[in-house]
């Protein structure tokens, strides 16, 4: 499998604190890659570098061979990279449908053509909402929906980008055991249905081990290990970092 995203020697410092130090890894096209590590390992920082919310101190990030570090944050969606946020970041005073349609923003034709595309976009958005079980709340404001539904709305918005790379920041956070089990299948299904590569930050080890094709382990801003779930699970350094939590 070809590498869709290549992170090379990524380093970022905030003042005196080195959040990421010389981190390199690849995300294979069509695969689900898990990015794991204890709190403060730099997982979300890594996401924020990829989506250009942070400017790395040094290193390279390449997507399909393009240098992402030359992009502004608002150009990332154009590259068909979409994300969800650790603390659900919805447009609270807009309806669920409108939230999803913001995901379509970069796919609208420029200028007056955007008006003509509105009905196509709405049609597609309703289709995605339907698929994720959100059809019944399409016209409700995002504010006031239950937490799990809000996370699903975020996913719907990200899928409206038709992403080639989908970045999920802690999709299981706040969900119960049984919900996490269902989530794993859903992520696999969504990745297959929408033909998207997934890079997922997650704390929930069982989930990551079960659905990932490849796992990258970070600890204190450094890459600790990188390999298949089985290889990572038995890696002594990883076990030590998690104090046997695996």
């Amino acid at each position: 499998m070809a590498s869709l995203l290549a992170v090379r020697n990524l380093t970022i410092r905030f003042g005196g604190i080195t959040a990421l130090s010389d981190v390199s890894f690849d995300v294979a096209e069509g695969a689900i890659t898990g990015l794991i590590g204890p709190n403060g390992a730099g997982k979300t920082t890594c996401f924020n570098c990829i989506t250009r919310l942070y400017q790395p101190t040094s290193g390279e990030i390449q997507f399909r061979g393009d240098d992402l570090l030359r992009c502004t944050p608002q150009q990332i969606a154009n590259k068909r990279i979409a994300r969800t946020f650790q603390n659900v970041a919805l447009f609270d005073h807009m309806t669920v449908l409108e939230n999803a349609l913001v995901g379509y923003h970069t796919r609208f034709p420029a200028g007056l053509g955007a008006w003509a595309a509105e009905s196509d976009a709405t049609h597609e958005a309703l289709g995605v909402l339907e698929k994720l079980g959100l059809a019944g709340v399409a016209h409700r404001p995002a504010l006031g929906l239950p937490f799990g539904v809000r996370k699903t709305v975020e996913l719907a918005r990200a899928l409206m980008v038709r992403p080639e790379l989908l970045l999920l920041d802690e999709p299981a956070a706040g969900l119960s055991h049984t919900e996490v089990a269902a989530l794993g299948d859903s992520i696999k299904r969504v990745a297959a249905d929408f033909g998207t590569t997934v890079l997922m930050v997650e704390h929930h080890m069982a989930l990551v081990m079960r659905i990932s094709d490849h796992i990258v382990v970070l600890a204190s801003g450094r890459k600790l290990a990188d390999g298949t779930p089985d290889a990572v699970r038995t890696n002594p350094a990883v076990i030590e970092a998690y104090l046997g939590a695996v």
């Binding site: 608002q74 154009n78 807009m94 349609l101 955007a114 239950p146 859903s186």
Partner: protein
Amino acid sequence: MRPNGAVLTRVAIAVAIIAVLPWVVPSFLVFDLIYVAAYAIAILGLIILTGMNGQISLGHGAFMALGGYVVAILAHNAGWPYWIGVPVAAVACGAFGLLIGLVALRLEGVYLALATFSLAVAAPSFLKHYKQITGGFGGMSIDAVTTPAGVPLDAQHWLYYVTWAVTGVVFLASALLVRGKFGRALRALRDNPIAAVSFGVNPYYYKTLAFGWSAVLAGIAGAFYAMTTAFVSPDTFSFALSITVLIGAVLGGIMTFWGAIVGALVIEFLPLLAQRVNAGAPSVVYGVTLILMMMFVPDGIVGGVQRLYRRFARPRPSQPAFEPSAPVATSIALEKPSRE
């Protein structure tokens, strides 16, 4: 999205009321209603800028001043007719608005409010200083609008219909503008700028354009304000005017276009009513009314009416309107709602 039919019905009713109104109210009220139209245009600009895009402007009086003075100077010094003057005023204000919008990109919330407020404070002094073209302290008189030959209306009714027709066009243009992609981008930037940017919404482009369009509207409003008064002076556009239109936007309802018309009615007629209630201290009556309104309808009069309508006009919803209904919750295949 609301069904279009209901919106069209409401618009049709509003148009009918506006068309009939000047024939049923006393003549002096017709002038007040022309000012209401001008205020409504200015407030609409604030609804788009502040309500939809989250940029607070305390300086829209300055844009109104620019619009009013452009029309007045073109008419007074160059003898240009108003039908040319108003579009020129709109374009001038749009250009100035884009410029201020670029500056506004660097400022957020209360800092932007203060920066724009300084515009409003500076505008009258500026107008007084350049007296060769602005007429200085005394301002300048311009010709009152007259009815064109062949139109069977007196000057007052003619101006009324022209102003409200322009208001209608401006509302329609704004509604088309904020429909779809553009409007969603504005509101997305207001609700969550980081998420909006992550989905490709260019904050510089949309925020600057919102400021520009809002200034165009304020400029048109100022132009009609000047034409109706047939006079402009620095005091016409004091900093209090900026506050007044923002009060109108907030009281009317800053999230909906209807709020512009309701807010315009309030800022035009509330001071007059206050004068009647207590001629000795109208500002006290005005102020107390404002405080009471903010307490009881914090989302504006339109918002308050909508809430009342929901509560009383539809007492028997087929399902609880604001609880997630059971079929929805169980059909969340991907992630079931766990906790609030």
